[in-house]
Amino acid sequence: MNQNVLEVHHLRVRFGKKVALDDVNIQFRKGESVVIAGSNGAGKSTLLRCLAGVIHPDKGQVVYASDLPREKIAFISDGLSLFENMTLKQGLDFHRRTFRIQDPDESFFEQLKFGKNQRIKNLSVGERTLYHLSMLLAQKPAVLLIDEIIHAVDPYLREKFLETVIEAIDKYGTTMITINHTFSEIQNIPERVLLMEGGRFILDEKSEQLKTKIKKVALDTEIPSEIPYVFKKESALGKDYFVYPFQEDFRRKYAYDFQSLELGDIVKALIGGEYAKKRMS
């Protein structure tokens, strides 16, 4: 597998007649942090669940690295699924036993000021997110799969959460695969951005490359046909074109102000482009 911790081959998952994943092929390398973006129903969560073993694909397979035991795969679903009738202590003990955690890293858990005897179901969504994450980090995961959950945490804890995740990734060489729509806080984390649509990957780029490949240009007129764009945003003030793939020649040829974008805006533009395509079709 050559440094790949996870490989996905011809994955196909259906929900009745709806195809959620359609012949998906992808590899994830050891230690990389990946963000998967896409419109609602694109298949992101289904893919993550396949990687976590929560969904069994109808066709294809997920291949784990031979040195990757199941105990080292950590998964938080967007539903924050846990045995919520347990107390925090019971939940933690259960998790430790089940995942055979010999030497748990409880540093993050200790920062949380929860009463260990309260039931999980009595936690707020934010608290539950942090509790769940702390359990997963205690197992020193090799792969961390995080569905869209960060938005539920308040800004202070969110920052703390992200710091801890970054620290853990560095410390354990964890491969982090996350689904996120709100990129403002995490744009420095992902090394790789994947964009899904209709159960397939339509974009797989390194973050830095993506930043150079997509630019925004604001015009009053139509953009020349020579310049490709993925999304056009119209407003009373004019038209914003999101050019992709961008070439430096465009600057020389046209005296337009091609602006660089933050990762969040890039992803938003790509998703917006997909919605526009759907409308057109």
Binding site: F15, V54, S77, F83, R97, F99
Partner: protein, 618 residues
């Protein structure tokens, strides 16, 4: 995971146990069901509770996780699906087994008298329901839907289970019972190897029907995930359908083979014809030839009067088989059963050439005495009317005599406190009161003009005087011999037995002789118990011959003694006979000794023990 599951199941089991103890207690204390001891309420409640528990343990396989929104977490645990299933099923099965063992303990500690469902039926339903509920547990997120589906599946299973043997037996012309009659019989009766189909065959057939369910669950569960349960259900049923067809075919084949090659019963007629019977055929072995006919009779409800063999074809009539010509004829056709009576004819009583038994009549207090002349086959019905005939108990004829120039029959209601009645051939009924009231429900026999009443208090011997029965002797229960009368029922011929001089039986581990003239009980030696309680080692051959057999499993021998007065005379020791071996039979009949060791059957003539050889036997 196992620890969590065990803890959860332990807590649930604890609450179930509390409920099982408390609910009958509340019913008992509030007298909702009056005049019943606690155990009489507890045992049927516990049986119902067990079925509920089997259903609950099965369908609740994932209900805890579903209730806690923990399914995704559960499925992300580092276990394969099959291991996960195993971890969840194991504690449940232990709980199911535990409560079953508790029930078995209660059953054998006095609970068997109060059961609503026979032990076999309960055991069968209990484990099958648990298994079905388990197999369906992943089909829906809704607990109630799962319960309904599982119960419906149990009903379907039950019907298919009985449909298969019924179709085969109907196809072979063996039974006239309706399908529903057979399946309801299953719920009411203790099922033994001597029932209409052998126990192992039924279990095997049931397994063939259940295995597809289990396999479908196992195979589809390998891909069980958090997608809507109908996706799992589609996969489950897609796997189940072909497996079930194969399962049904295998079950049908098993039942057919089971019936064809299944248990054989043997009977030896007075004129030493050996009768072999299965559910598909009857073979009559003469010493030099064998005849086969497509009919079945149950050896324990027949009698022979050479060359005829009589047997009741239950639900049909009385059949007479001529063992010489191998011709059968129905000499009595059973009438339609009136709604107020469930029995259609009672046990027969033969006096000289007349066979007598009862038939229900139209009126609730009416009864018909059916008399069949064995020579002419003429059937006479005499109606009788009496309050005692109300209800569903069939009376039994104890004696028949000619008094004052008229024929009369003495009848008794078994396990009742009703005194006997005398029925006259002109339709008149005499009430025969007890001089001293008999309060306990009793069974009765009548010999030498004496009525022997057996009940929990012991045995009371009564004689008729001026139209009433007067006690002449009372034997307390602890001094009453066992087996001393009811064994005659099997060797019916009351006309001969009426003149009996003595009888034998047991008191604890001692053999005793009962003198019919002095009514005294005499100790004549040790009674060696045979482990299998259904085997009686005392044999009576009318009019006055008694044999006693002593089996020794360790030495694999059986000794035959003749009982004469207080003497026990050893006649012969049969080697290589293990009484506990499956399908072993040792009977002393009027035609001789019938001995079956597995598939080998031998017959010995009495009194010289000369072996009778049958061509083509075995």
């Amino acid at each position: 995971m196992l620890r969590k599951e065990c803890r959860d199941i332990l807590i649930q089991s604890f609450f179930f146990a509390i409920a099982m103890a408390a609910l009958p207690a509340v019913i008992f204390l509030t007298r909702l069901i009056p005049h019943q001891p606690y155990i009489a309420i507890f045992v049927p409640s516990f049986q119902s509770g067990l079925l509920f528990w089997a259903l609950f343990m099965g369908v609740s396989l994932f209900s805890s996780e579903r209730g806690q929104k923990g399914m995704e977490y559960l499925l992300s645990l580092p276990y394969s699906r099959l291991k996960l299933l195993g971890l969840k099923v194991l504690p449940r099965f232990c709980s199911i087994l535990f409560f079953y063992l508790v029930f078995i303990a209660i059953y054998f500690q006095g609970g068997r008298d109060y059961v609503a469902l026979a032990l076999f039926s309960l055991s069968f339903l209990y484990f099958v329901l648990f298994f079905i509920a388990l197999c369906f547990s992943a089909l829906s997120d809704n607990f109630l839907v799962l319960s309904m589906v599982s119960l419906f599946a149990l009903v379907v299973f039950n019907e298919v289970f009985f449909l298969i043997p019924w179709l085969i037996m109907r196809g072979e012309g063996i039974t006239e019972y309706s399908w529903s009659e057979i399946s309801s019989t299953f719920l009411q009766l203790e099922w033994t190897a001597e029932s209409w189909l052998s126990f192992p065959i039924l279990i095997l057939a049931a397994l063939f029907l259940l295995i597809p369910l289990g396999l479908a669950m196992l195979v589809s569960f390998k891909k069980f995930d958090v997608r809507p349960s109908k996706i799992f259900g589609r996969r489950f049923f897609k796997i189940l359908a072909p497996l079930l067809i194969v399962g049904i075919l295998c079950a049908a084949l098993t039942v057919w083979i089971g019936i064809d090659r299944g248990p054989k019963d043997f009977y030896l007629t007075r004129d030493q014809k050996l009768i072999e019977t299965t559910y598909l055929y009857t073979k009559i072995y003469n010493q030099d030839k064998v005849a086969k006919l497509k009919t079945h009779f149950f050896p324990y409800y027949n009698w022979d009067d050479p060359p005829y063999l009589y047997y009741f074809d239950w639900g049909n009539g009385l059949i007479r088989l001529n063992t010489a010509t191998v011709a059968t004829e129905m000499i009595y056709q059973e009438p339609p059963v009136p709604r107020h009576r469930y029995w259609s004819f009672s046990s027969r009583f033969k006096y000289k050439n007349t066979i007598a038994f009862f038939e229900p009549a139209r009126g609730p207090d009416e009864i018909l005495l059916v008399l069949i002349d064995a020579d002419t086959k003429n059937v006479t019905r005499i109606p009788f009317k009496h309050d005692f005939f109300r209800g569903s108990d069939a009376p039994r004829i104890l004696d028949s005599a000619v008094r004052e120039g008229k024929r009369s029959w003495l009848v008794f209601f078994h396990y009742s406190t009703k005194p006997p009645l005398r029925l006259w051939e002109d339709g008149h009924v005499d009430n025969l009161e007890y001089k001293d009231k008999i309060l306990d429900k009793s069974s009765a026999e009548y010999f030498r003009d004496m009525l022997f009443l057996s009940n929990t208090g012991g045995v009371t011997i009564l004689k008729e005087k001026d139209g009433a029965f007067v006690a002449v002797k009372k034997i307390p229960r602890e001094e009453s011999p066992w087996y001393w009368m009811w064994m005659w029922i099997r060797f019916l011929d009351y006309g001969d037995a009426a003149q009996i001089k003595e009888s034998y039986g047991k008191i604890k581990d001692r053999m005793v002789r009962f003198d019919m003239e002095t009514l005294g009980v005499e100790d004549i030696g040790e009674w060696k118990k045979i482990k299998d309680a259904y085997r009686i080692n005392l044999h009576f051959l009318p009019p006055n011959a008694f044999y006693y057999t002593e089996a020794n499993s360790r030495e694999r021998t059986i000794k035959v003694f003749k009982l004469e007065g207080s003497q026990k005379i050893l006649l012969k020791t049969f080697e290589n006979f293990d009484v506990q071996q499956q399908r072993s039979q040792f009977d002393i009949l009027e035609g001789g000794i019938l001995l079956q060791r597995g598939k080998k059957v031998q017959v010995y003539r009495l009194p010289d023990f000369q072996e009778i050889k049958y061509k083509k036997l075995g």
